[in-house]
Symmetry: C2
Subunit: 199 residues, 2 copies
């Protein structure tokens, strides 16, 4: 299924390489208290979320972001008009990202792909894979400020398959840790984009 | 009490001014879904935490960070030796920051002071207020990766005063939102420090 997602090329040769070294990546995990238990609870979360990803992304995109102009504009044309294909394509990747967050091993391929996704929110690579004309960049502060909304919504969906409240809590904690790990990785995506701008 | 904390100068004229405009600051709150309900639960959290801040900071610093070399080094001298005064002074500010997060209104003075605290983790202002020689900067990715640990520990302390699990959950959510808001503010602190370096 992932093969058919437009612009999704996890593990491919053309994916950017994160400047974060393997050692720094391990340090990020240690700093976040990210352990094998989190890996197990992310797997559980992946099973719970697998058939809900379209609904989740639809909730973020069509119930929440659409009402927040400074966020919604990044999926629209520069004059604010709709770009339904762009939205549909990036929604498919957004759905797959939930699964990759839960089910993929956090190795170099994963690290590099999170960096690639980061770059696709910056002037370095936004719009390119979909060949659209939209905003040049999603400011990093706006990405960070949206993380609580992602985490909060997620809890509802994690609780839908009859797991104990302790299990839901642990899946949610593992998810939330991953969000901050990914934001840590994105600091380098935004820094790369900035340094390219200066050249 | 806050008046006696070395290097703590909330609201003072010499505090840096955040480049984030009032409008952008409102957008960050909207993006994070930060509402008046969160303000109320942060107030409740402030009451719950008020007499626990020394214990909390001690837990972070002496139980957790001390065992993570790439984080611990930022409170030590460049050769890795202890700087007990630096640690003690910054611990006092760390404690006050918990209270400011919970009890201060999120207005321009608060925004500016969070930016100031951000700068004090960068090459622009780290070590200066304490006149110490330590690492030049705490990398932003390491700050971000530590947020899950801050959030997770916090839950224990929020639950200690007999509030219902729903109240604890809501205090914790409000706290977690504030953490991401603050990290969003810090993107500009780190960007300012970078642009100063280039001059």
């Amino acid at each position: 299924m992932a093969d058919e997602i437009p612009g999704y090329n996890y593990g491919a040769r053309e994916v950017a390489r994160s400047p974060i070294s393997d050692e720094e990546f391990e340090q990020l995990k240690v700093g976040a208290g990210f352990t094998q238990e989190d890996v197990r609870y992310l797997r559980m979360a992946g099973e719970v979320l697998q058939d809900q990803v379209a609904e989740i992304v639809n909730r973020w995109r069509s119930d929440i972001i659409v009402h927040i102009p400074h966020l919604a504009k990044h999926s629209r044309s520069l004059d604010g008009g709709p770009l339904p294909d762009y939205l549909a394509r990036s929604n498919r990747r957004f759905e797959q990202w939930i699964l990759d967050t839960c089910l993929r091993p956090y190795d170099r391929a994963w690290l590099d792909y999170q960096h690639e996704i980061g770059l696709r929110h910056t002037t370095a690579r936004k719009n390119q894979v979909d060949h659209v004309s939209s905003t040049a960049e999603v400011p990093f502060q706006d990405v960070l400020s949206f993380i609580p909304v992602i985490n909060e919504t997620m809890k509802t969906y994690l609780a839908r398959k009859g797991h104990s409240s302790d299990e839901v809590e642990k899946m949610h904690q593992a998810w939330s840790k991953s969000m901050l790990l990914q934001m840590a990785i994105w600091t380098k995506s935004y820094a790369s984009a900035e340094s390219t701008k200066r050249v």
